[in-house]
Subunit: 233 residues, 8 copies
């Protein structure tokens, strides 16, 4: 309880900006932009900038980037991933690896959100795109890459079967991200979500539809435990 009491946050009225994770862990501060006005986002980023930490802004439209880019020089916009990143401190690279795989080409934006999130959180990330199960030989030809990774993120829409096949091929933690890619009875990703939750492969954890950030973050918490162990914990 004492611990809780001391957690620092800054109250700027419409937001209570939380600094404790970045302070303790060297993590970036994170802001989720969807549904927030650009004014609010700017205010929050300004509060964060005072701490001189890295800042990760997700679901950031081009307009959000335009609104933020004069605040600092150390800002970069990842168009595909819709991520704004402000880099104030150097990022370490983990020894253990996260692999991000997609079923198709249309799943790439969500995969990039996951990959870049994991990278700015200090992880080594590999990408393996367009290896969906309708052409299973494309996945099997890359089996060695699955075996080299410590954590695997599978990103797939439509019937979302990639998670099951990958989960059957390796004994690693597999994070499954359903995407809203598809149409009709896909119901904006519900089909892939249900498929992943019902995977006949064991060891699959699912995040929300299109939630690349969540997958990248979860993979990072796992990888962090591995790194800590590698560094003699």
């Amino acid at each position: 309880m004492d611990y809780l009491r001391d957690l620092p946050f800054e109250d700027i009225g419409y937001a209570k900006v939380d600094h404790h994770r970045s302070l303790r862990n060297g993590y970036p501060e994170v802001i989720y932009c969807e549904g927030k006005s650009i004014e609010h986002i700017k205010g929050i980023v300004e509060s964060m900038l005072k701490k001189d930490n890295n800042i990760l802004a997700t679901r950031a439209s081009k307009e959000v980037y335009e609104g933020l880019k004069d605040l600092t020089d150390d800002i970069i916009y990842y168009d595909l991933a819709k991520i704004v990143f402000i880099k104030k401190k150097e990022i370490k690279k983990s020894k253990s690896k996260i692999l991000v795989a997609t079923g198709g080409t249309s799943d790439i934006p969500v995969a990039e959100e996951a990959a870049i999130t994991a990278e700015v959180l200090g992880n080594s990330v590999e990408r393996l795109y367009d290896v969906g199960v309708a052409g299973i030989h494309r996945l099997l030809s890359n089996k060695h890459r699955l075996l080299e990774a410590n954590v695997i993120i599978t990103v797939a829409g439509m019937e979302g079967a990639l998670a099951s096949v990958v989960g059957g091929l390796v004994d690693k933690p597999v994070i499954a991200v359903p995407t809203s890619v598809g149409y009709g009875a896909n119901f904006n990703g519900l089909a892939a979500l249900l498929a992943m939750l019902n995977s006949c492969a064991s060891g699959v954890g699912v995040v929300n539809i299109d939630n690349g950030f969540g997958a990248g973050y979860l993979a990072s918490t796992i990888n962090r435990q591995i790194e800590l162990a590698l560094n003699n914990y």
Copy 2:
């Protein structure tokens, strides 16, 4: 229209028993037992027996079989498939083949409903059970069997990915049967149903959840066209 007018059926009050398919095609007469009283089923079977055709009764509980078995000696009960079959005429075996594959062991009852339906409709049927995608090597080791078939029925619950992987391996008609095997967010087969409808593999036709009969019948209409062609159409 003239054709329609002459289609024979027998009106027995609570049912209008339709004889025209069996008369024309040598097909068995079919009765779906669920939701019908044993008295009604007996009445319908008695009406059918007058025509001396084969009779296929699906979703038939043991009680239904008990109620029918004194009507004729030529009766057999398939316990797993819950099918009663009354054989009055010899059944031909097609040259072209239907393969029935399942994801797991629990899918076998539905697969058997499909297989036996297809068999009594005159088709050669092969079985390939427990080749789900979480152990993809079991399916790949049997790829030659997929290649030898003319029509493939895939029966799977949980995430239903088998249809997509099979559909990606062959250029044959694939009929997908979602089963209600699973639990939780499976929603009694909805997960597998949606996955199969959203298959990233082309050439997959889906039937209702647990509808082995429908799959066997559809495979049979396809195979019948092939047989007709083989026999010089």
Copy 3:
């Protein structure tokens, strides 16, 4: 397994373009455009063009066509079906026939996607539009056309009853395509989808809502088996 290992695909980073079907079967290469950037689509088409095969691009907006039309002269845009077709090789016409029927006028775009897909895959295709069940005499007057076909695709929105009535009139494979035509408790095609999955007629296989391509492809795999048989298999 050896077979799988040798399947050729080209890795262009964001996509792994699969050439094996066109190489073996004379099938066109297929690209599904929805959710892909025009740059990505162009790259994939360029990779495909090297093989000198026919190319079928579905869900292609006018903008996609504009982006592709300078790559080759042999390109055509089917406006209603939203299909771009690049024709490098002559297409054969099958002897056996596919019939595409619709419930209403609003279902025509989906029907055309199915029809043109089947045509470019080498099938003879007939069209029978606006024969929905609310005016059943329009369908019955055309019963001879149902009887002449080998495979029937029924395309319908609203309550999707066309599949059941057609399935009851013929003993052919019937592929049902629910469309999102309708409103309110139609839920973007869900009503028609459920109706088709629950068809009281046997022998109906269902594809995803608005999935004309899938229906055309499935019909084609069926018809191909018939053709092979006709040509002495």
Copy 4:
């Protein structure tokens, strides 16, 4: 408002028994038994019996009938329809007619609930069972019976297409009752319900799944208006 104030009901604590409809219209008093204890049902029927009106108890199990049968001699149990009827006054027969049609044999219990409800409310009722659309000739052979009726109730499960075909054949009020007959993606009648709500035929009014009583009652209110007009209103 004055009118409302004078409506008689009897307060028996757990129920406020409403007598005004039977008093004014010669209608029976109605009690819906599901979810009520047999003690409560008995109490309500005793209160009703004091008025010497006919009483219609729906969704009445055999046990309910057993609990009520000693209260009066004028009691009858319709097993299939699960209706208890207590007849204290003679019922008139309307000149105009209600036809009740079903898709299959399994829909008969719901159809009987509708038919008997309509009969005890004073209507002439015809039955036309097992005329589902998968064998459309069975319905078309009975078209004259559709034409002779003033109001038509269609009862169907599975894909519920009967309502649309009937609605297309006549210009009469059609009441559609979806039944829970079916399985899998039928979702206990949801498929038929949605199909009927989305009927491409105009002039179809839908009641709740398995609600035979509601359909019979609605048909009766329509027929009553016709009778009043026939009798010079």
Copy 5:
């Protein structure tokens, strides 16, 4: 069957225009515009105009009206109801009456679609708007108007309770139209739809969400039976 064979329709390729109802009944020809191109709508209307019947075009945007208005002088556009009406023949007024009631002001467009449909089909129509149950005195003050009508259409969104209260106040046929008015857990009219299907009042028939046309048409088929009876049938 003979009757069916003779039903006239005109085949214009993308549509099979059905003339038989207007020929027999003096009904207008009907065209549902949503999802049809203006070119298709024009073609269908031109085919209809040859018969010199009245024409009712529903779900017609302003653009549809603009596209049609040069075809004939006898054309009128109902903005609120989104109806185009072409009047070639005089319309009779029924003696018996249809009342259209709404819960709120936002339900008026759907109510007007119902009212105008009923009017052009030859019915006397009354309107009673904004009498929702949250201010029940507004409905009760107008009870005499409910009592004077022969058929009542209730149009309501949100919780859709109007149908139940009206159904409890009268012994007339009540047609319930759920509207998509509301937000959140209204799910575009689903809440009102379910409420109306589950009405505790007997004698309520439900049509699709926002389906004013269907309600007007159903009310008209009912009223037509009453009129026929009044005119000595």
Copy 6:
């Protein structure tokens, strides 16, 4: 935070029994029995009995009562409400009143759960049962009882319209409890739940389906604020 730290609970392994509310407020300790083994329930009740507080056990089957009744003499079982109550201390009666109203007789069990919960929490409770909107005069005749209450709980299944009508008649807090009474498209109370959430009357708060306890508890927290104010706060 200091406050939180001192909240007393007892750790009995499978449960952490929380005593702080009863200690501070004179509230009974509460145990929800569904899904717990009788052994676990007994253990929890024994831990609670040490504090000599009143104990309220909800969703308690007869078997639970049998298992508990030897622990203490001060135990009573409310059969209809499925509540076990152990009374160790006298309960005060509030001056302000809670009224519990139901739509029908079948809603009474849920209403009793609400009423008895509120009573053992120290509130004066009135009951007004079977006043559903299909016979609105039964509710209007009791309007004075609505006006005398400070908080009103409305319990209704089917279309759940009672909450809206009551909410329109009074300016009091109205708590709406949907019940699972009904069938078909009622979906176990979903219809009533959605209707209540979409009530056109303002000032309605909804609890879970069949959650009589939650309604009684919420009404009690409201009434408690009123009592505190009456007692000079």
Copy 7:
């Protein structure tokens, strides 16, 4: 009943404007703008202005405000809350307090709708924003503010857990407002709605998704009972 008869409303054709609440209670007149044309809104406001009461218009877009602002000088637009308020009479401030808390910054618009509604209905309102459970120390640091309030409104999207945590910390009435903030399997607020309905904390009443007005109004009816008691009732 006499009371009901005398409730005044004004019939302006498309609306029946209800004045009785404002007349009796000093409440503002309320108009819900969504789905109404600006002409209709103006007409209703003009009818209301004759009574010289305060007027609260919710879900009012900037365009609605523009359309109304020339009708009176006493008009103000709350941009975030989308509320137009016309102040003709002074508003009292209650002694007892309502606290409005949000999980995140994106929930503020809904919270403001609740807060301003409560304020113009005469309540003292406090705001506590961005205290979601993922950083529980932000909520716990403000526990004293929860304890000082008489009624608490919790506004949250995503998993909506704020209501449960707050409900566990206080013994006050808690009103939960799910918001549509989130994406994917959030289904426009359904996730938060279900979570709030299933809260493990007792004493939580839920309103519709994004229904800030309803929450503010319900809190006000509760607070009004408290005020009446404080003022010696």
Copy 8:
């Protein structure tokens, strides 16, 4: 691909028993019993016993245990977790720890399935039960236990908020298991599932409803990576 080819499995007709994981990893062989006949389960276990590995049978009813217990002495039944375990080889204990926490007492069976699964897979497991968010002090008092674990499994029904609060307190991988504990709008665990997928805390991976096994297995794959790192990988 070579690797795949050599994966050993045994074909016993109705099942293809997969031995490769246990051979390589020292993992137990796993069998999911639900939906399989006891005869099939026995056959599979007999095939597995030949390899002398540990065997984990989940969702095993008492009857399954009775059917298996004569096959070997080294068999144990975990009643609460419904797990049969056959121990042929010693299990190692990991240095890093998995913590299993539940919201309530009713969630314990699912939690035990997770805990025992993790234990037989070689992990050190701690339990922290009944720390749901409605009494947040019970969780906060145990914060040190959260901090000592490397992986945390949170098991909760109802609104499932435990995952979010725990995810906010630690920077560890959190696996969330929704349970079907609850009723009404809980929809058999859907409420908790959606809440967990929409968690506002980052780093939460979700498994299927009631899927304790999946959570235990996923936690184990994570922990295994940590152990490998600790042991110098």
